[in-house]
């Protein structure tokens, strides 16, 4: 089977069934290193550390009852490698487990916490939980129904091509999301229309309690891309260098040739699904411990130390610095006021239709009445 039928040849299939990696779980070099200067190498590490520290803080704030819910990203920090090659004008549709993505795009810890607490500075104005985004960073807030954003990203990429822009779109989603109609339709449209979109599937082996094997019998997610006529590859998603390198190639290809690309980021969800989850019901601690040794930070730190870009104590210091930094921010954001009571009447439409005007009037009266009845106004 070496003949080529619409891009299906041995090599393209191999790419979807193998696992592309550059550094192994000890940090040893086992593949082609990209040609990166020390500061870029360091930046990747710094983003991963920031993501991890922020994750810890969000978990802490959740336990303190300040944050309603959080989806931990422990173990998936190498996603920062996927977004780093993007330019500001490129668009990103992140998933809900993508703290590192938000940071790389320019959203800082304060904005993320404002969002998590939906205080007066929440850019999304208290619309929904556990989602992040901001137009300033060309990052569209994630819809909670899993996978909805996939066809949106394809539409944006089509519009970029139609308007002759030099931009590309990247969209993240989990292994569970690949079962949805949105995935099927989105990838099919991208394949048919040949648009500059990069699909990044964070295959962390679990969709809440459903393991990959029960989600699909596809040999890999990357293999699925081929049936849509999309160049696809499976990457060791705990190897930030591999993620960076493949994403750079994909972004360049998308930008130059206006072609779609699918990256399967093979990783593992080390934490619970969200803070509302109890993974002990469906997977063993032993499995988690076993997978811990593949986690992305340690191996990349070893690599950077080997490369002379970082020392052990610098690494520890970096962690501590961000820990304290967020501690300060947490204090600050916890003191901010809430959103106005009538916030949810706005942003339904550009202008309030008459029924919403009437209802807003009734609403304001009801607030007065609550006070006069001695009821607490939330």
């Amino acid at each position: 089977m070496s003949r080529i039928v619409r891009g299906i040849d041995e090599a393209s299939i191999e790419k979807t069934l193998g696992i592309y990696r550059i550094i192994d779980e000890e940090g040893n070099i086992v593949g082609d290193e990209p040609n990166l200067d020390g500061s870029t190498l360091y930046k990747l590490y710094e983003y991963m550390v920031r993501a991890r520290v922020l994750d810890e803080w969000l978990l802490k704030l959740q336990r303190l009852g300040k944050v309603a819910i959080h989806a931990p990203n422990l173990g998936q920090e190498a996603i920062v490698g996927a977004v780093t090659p993007l330019k500001p004008d490129d668009w990103v549709f992140p998933s809900y487990r993508d703290l590192g993505v938000y940071l790389v795009r320019g959203m800082d810890e304060e904005e993320i916490l404002d969002r998590a607490l939906y205080n007066q500075d929440d850019p999304l104005k208290g619309s929904d939980f556990a989602i992040y985004g901001n137009r300033r960073f060309n990052m569209v807030p994630t819809p909670v129904p899993v996978g909805n954003q996939i066809p949106h990203a394809v539409g944006v990429a089509y519009a970029m091509k139609y308007l002759d822009r030099d931009s590309v779109t990247m969209v993240m989603f989990g292994d569970g999301a690949t079962s949805r109609g949105d995935f099927h339709a989105g990838l099919n449209f991208a394949g048919v229309y040949r648009v500059p979109v990069i699909f990044v599937c964070e295959n962390n082996q679990w969709a809440i309690s459903v393991p990959f094997d029960r989600q699909t019998r596809s040999p890999s997610i990357a293999f699925r891309g081929l049936v849509y006529g999309i160049e696809s590859i499976r990457v060791d998603g705990n190897d930030v260098l591999a993620m960076y390198k493949i994403a750079s190639e994909a972004v360049e290809k998308a930008r130059k040739e206006k072609e779609p690309y699918l990256i399967e980021m093979l990783t593992y969800r080390l934490g619970s699904h969200t803070t509302a989850d109890d993974p002990s019901k469906y997977r063993s601690e032993e499995e988690v411990n076993r997978m811990m040794k593949y986690e992305p930070l340690k191996r990349y730190r070893n690599y950077l130390i080997f490369k002379g870009v970082l020392t052990d104590s610098e690494a520890n210091e970096l962690y501590r610095r961000y820990y304290n930094y967020i501690e300060d921010i947490a204090k600050k954001v916890l003191n901010k006021g809430g959103l106005p009571h009538d916030v949810f009447f706005h942003n339904v439409f550009e202008k309030l239709p008459w029924n919403l005007q009437d209802q807003l009037r009734e609403f304001r009266e009801s607030l007065e009445l609550m006070k006069s009845l001695g009821l607490e106004v939330d």
Partner: protein, 325 residues
Amino acid sequence: MPQINMVEALNMALREEMERDDRVVVLGEDIGRRGGVFLVTDGLIDLFGEERVIDTPLTELGIIGFSIGLALYGLRPVAEIQFIDFVYEAFDQIYSNMARIRFRSGGMYNVPLVLRSPCCGGIKGGMHHSQSPESLFIHTTGLYVMMPSGPYDAKGLLKTAIRLNDPVIFLEPKSIYRVIKEEVPEDDYTIELGKGKIVREGGDITLVTWGAMVHISKQAADIVKEKLGVEVEIIDLRTLYPYDKDLIIDSLEKTGRMLIVHEAPKTLGLGSELSAYIVEEHVDLLYGPILRVTGYDTPFPLAHEKLYMPNIARIYNAISKLMEY
């Protein structure tokens, strides 16, 4: 001015808007070379090319999800769903995204997307080529909903829809696509969102309706006038959300009697909201009950569709009852 039908008027609106603004693109199943199964997009591909007149794969979810992306980036897509009966695969995209992205993003993003689709019965289309699901969209919150009853309004409303910065569900009663002809100017005119129209004046009864039922209602009103001497005032809502409450109230101030006629099933058809709204806010205007003549609470049948849909006898009957008050 020549008389044209609704298909031609819609085609004219699309062409003019595409000429005016190159962010306007149209897409859907068979809308390119085929020109749409009802020919609403006929000829557009020759004028604007296949990048702006986009034939899609067979998935309504894909059409709407993809169109939302187009709209997010600043285009103004007009997506055709071949029959509104096939829209449901896209319902998650409509309900959770098209209608919610402005809200979800705290107002940072908006979705200027028009979903247009043939709707309603009367062509012997059976269960899945005949339905009137406007209630589902109206209850969604976050969508404007329109339904024209003739060529002139169709053109003006579609232009309005395309220029709005929020999503619009634009429903086209297919049974009158080619039946009614009107003078439609080649000029650029729009019809204001949320404004109904009195299509027949009368002092005894306020009959609120829309779409193809405007015409049945007119026929019934003529018979009622002849046989009972009752003068029916007919309001064509045109925009179903937000509907023109002022026009209804003004008319009720004259008549005190209200009848609603629609094709959708009765239970939770828009008639229920119109009735509930008037009773809640303007009960003092009423002499008696508010009646509804609607489709029955069954799936839309192939056999005897004319009996399933509101007809002259049922409207006549309701009017006679109302005149007892």
